[in-house]
């Protein structure tokens, strides 16, 4: 199974690009005297009006050979993560391990405490009265698997992450309402600023903009 979480070539988000970046004109929002000559670039972002256009554009971008790409949408779109080549996540394995550890831990906690640490004879029942230990073993399995699912998801997503370059992009606040975005990151092996802008304009977006780090 190809594990995309580990596959560096397919891009990880949330990282500042290792490449020196491609100089662009700095944000006009800064006062002129504080504007540096160039600032590093996170990537180039295209904006779309509907999910079908975004998925089609993402597919074409992937087919054009770009790998460090990402889509942003207001709701989960299965076709989108397939289109950017992100097929598998390690999360189910993490949850399975969490569940197994929780189950074993839950049972052996009861076994150790009831047999070794604090053996009490209750109505002549064996110290290791395992059928009575099953409910707590079950609950511990569920608890640890659920915690693994939640914290595993957050960890793999690198959340919480208060700042991210894409938040600088124009209209990006609408990514949580009704707008759709596609980003080619500057640390993609084939990234060339002018070519990427040209390419993205050919995808039929409503707007193409640079995203500063």
């Amino acid at each position: 199974m190809a594990d995309d979480d580990k596959d560096k070539t397919k891009g990880r988000e949330g990282e500042v690009p290792e490449s020196p970046g491609h100089p662009v004109s700095p944000s006009p929002r800064l006062p002129a005297n504080r504007r540096p000559a160039t600032i590093p670039l996170y990537g180039v972002m295209a904006q779309f009006d509907n999910p079908s256009e975004l998925v089609a554009a993402a597919r074409r971008t992937y087919e054009a050979g770009y790998r460090r790409i990402n889509g942003y949408s207001p709701y989960p779109i299965e076709e989108l993560w397939e289109a950017i080549g992100f097929h598998h996540t390690r999360l189910p394995v993490i949850v399975l391990i969490g569940g197994i550890l929780g189950g074993l831990g839950g049972f052996f906690m009861q076994y150790y405490l009831s047999v070794w640490e604090y053996p009490i004879n209750v109505g002549g029942k064996p110290f290791n009265s395992w059928p009575a230990f099953i409910p707590i073993t079950f609950e511990m399995t569920i608890l640890c698997a659920a915690l693994a699912a939640i914290f595993g998801m957050l960890a793999l997503n690198k959340l919480p992450q208060p700042y991210h370059p894409v938040f600088n992009a124009p209209n990006f606040a609408l990514a949580t309402r009704d707008h759709f975005f596609l980003v080619i990151e500057a640390n993609d092996a084939r990234f060339n600023h002018d070519e990427v802008v040209q390419f993205m304009k050919s995808l039929g977006p409503t707007e193409v903009s640079d995203v500063e780090v």
């Binding site: 709701y75 989108l80 996540t89 009831s114 659920a146 606040a173």
Partner: protein, 459 residues
């Protein structure tokens, strides 16, 4: 996601899951404006005020309880369990509908769950909070609560894992934890929406912190959906196990009327029954006051009524089997228990329960009543009362006359029993009112997924 978004195979498609003409923008703006823009309505202040007064009643009761002891309640030998356990089981049962809607209906791909799951999950949390108070305070010394957890201590004591009450501790705390996290995880994308929509700086910071930097990345969504699905898969057996374990508190005892194998499924069905009644009772006024008819359509209301009817029939079957096995067992005490339950001093409670839980909901068979909001609202109140009476019947009538006539007795609740119960109702509603004021009561991002425009068309 590739199927037609608002129709389901095999279900009548005349009443859609969402109203016509909704878009990503209108759904987002409508639901988030309930939190962000709309002026707090007068009924909110009224409702929250009344609930808040009841919370004070709860605090007063607890204070008196801690200073005096649980003798202020009416339960005493032979009826050692009464209002405290009745209310505990009642509240926990109500909570189960939330998990059922959010987890089991998700696994069954019932898209109509989308507009009610957030609300139902919140209800679960607040019901579990209310439920948890009762065993905690009934234990008498809540400040040594930690004795119930396997924590190394200087006394060298450890919990007794063979006891169903210990299983309860693990089941309820797991249920509370998982429900809270499941609910919070479901809220993250909506927190991001609120963060991006609000114009108030303090709320931007608060919702921003809660959203944890969510930005709708496709990679994030993939893991998020996976986590959500796995959690639903985990919560499903969890919710069944929790009420099973609650029923084992009774079933593993030898008291006539408790020692029955039918208890776990019968309790689980009763829990879902009570829970759906509560969801209906809360949804009907809420959708009216907030004008959410496009989001919570008659389809939802009818579906919930049908689930209520189905679980009500399972519960009725449970009552029948209880009576049948009482007779068929040939056991003197079991037979007497059923006889006493139906004709003894608490017989009127039993017949009232049959009226509320078995007879009244039969109206739902008729479409005329199933689509009448007033009838459904009243029915949901009747069922909630019926489910409370059921726990009263199971607990009190079994305990007050068991094996030896010399140790029979009667139970009557005191004012503090009622003030404690009313207080938890206040706590539940106070939390609910805060929830509907500060958080989106409908999952915005999940509503987007069921809109017609969410469908991806590929060449």
């Amino acid at each position: 996601m590739s199927e037609t978004p608002h129709k389901e195979v095999g279900v009548h498609t005349t009443t859609p899951v969402v109203g016509p003409g909704l878009t990503f923008a209108s759904v987002t703006d409508k639901i988030s404006s309930l939190v962000l823009k709309r002026k707090t309505p007068l009924w909110w202040f009224f409702g929250f005020g009344v609930s808040f007064i009841l919370v004070q009643v709860l605090l007063l009761t607890i204070t008196h309880l801690l200073f005096t002891g649980i003798g202020i309640w009416g339960n005493n030998v032979p009826v050692g369990w009464a209002f405290d356990i009745i209310n505990f089981v009642w509240w926990i049962g109500i909570g189960h509908a939330g998990t059922l809607i959010s987890a089991i209906l998700l696994l069954l791909r019932q898209k109509w769950r989308t507009s009610i799951n957030r609300f139902a999950e919140a209800m679960t949390l607040f019901a579990v909070a209310s439920a948890g108070l009762f065993p905690l305070l009934h234990a008498g010394r809540p400040w040594v609560l930690y004795w119930m957890f396997p924590i190394p201590n200087t006394m060298g004591l450890w919990p007794q894992f063979r006891s169903p009450l210990m299983w309860d501790v693990f089941a309820i705390s797991t249920y509370g934890t998982v429900s809270a996290l499941f609910w919070f995880i479901g809220l993250i994308p909506d927190f991001a929406t609120l963060r991006d929509r609000t114009r108030s700086k303090p709320f931007q910071i608060i919702y921003g912190l809660l959203a944890m930097g969510w930005r709708g990345s496709a990679r994030h969504w993939h893991r998020y959906e996976m986590a959500y699905l796995l959690l639903a898969g985990l919560a499903t057996p969890l919710v069944l196990s929790v009420h099973t374990i609650v029923s084992l508190d009774f079933a593993s005892g030898v008291i006539p009327g408790w020692h029955a194998t039918i208890f776990p499924p019968y309790f689980v069905a009763g829990a879902i029954y009570a829970g759906f009644a509560m969801v209906l009772m809360l949804t009907i006024p809420l959708r009216k006051f907030y004008g959410l008819e496009d989001f919570i359509t008659m389809r939802h209301i009818q579906n919930m009524a049908k689930v209520m009817l189905a679980t009500g029939l399972i519960v009725a079957y449970g009552y029948m089997m209880e009576a049948f096995f009482g007779w068929y067992s040939g056991n003197l005490y079991e037979r007497f228990m059923i006889y006493n339950r139906m004709t003894g001093p608490y017989g009127w409670v039993y017949w009232l329960l049959i009226l509320c839980n078995v007879l009244a909901p039969q109206l739902i068979w008729f479409k005329r009543f199933r689509t009448n909001l007033v009838v459904l609202f009243i029915l949901s109140i009747i069922v909630s009362i019926g489910m409370w009476l059921e726990r009263f019947v199971i607990i009190v009538t079994s305990l007050h006359r068991d094996f030896l006539p010399s140790s029979w007795g009667m139970y009557s609740p005191t004012g503090w029993d009622f003030s404690m119960f009313l207080g938890t109702i206040g706590l539940f509603f106070a939390l609910l009112f805060l929830f509907i004021r500060f958080l989106p009561i409908i999952s915005i991002f999940e509503m987007r997924t069921i809109l017609p425009e969410a469908e991806v068309e590929e060449e």
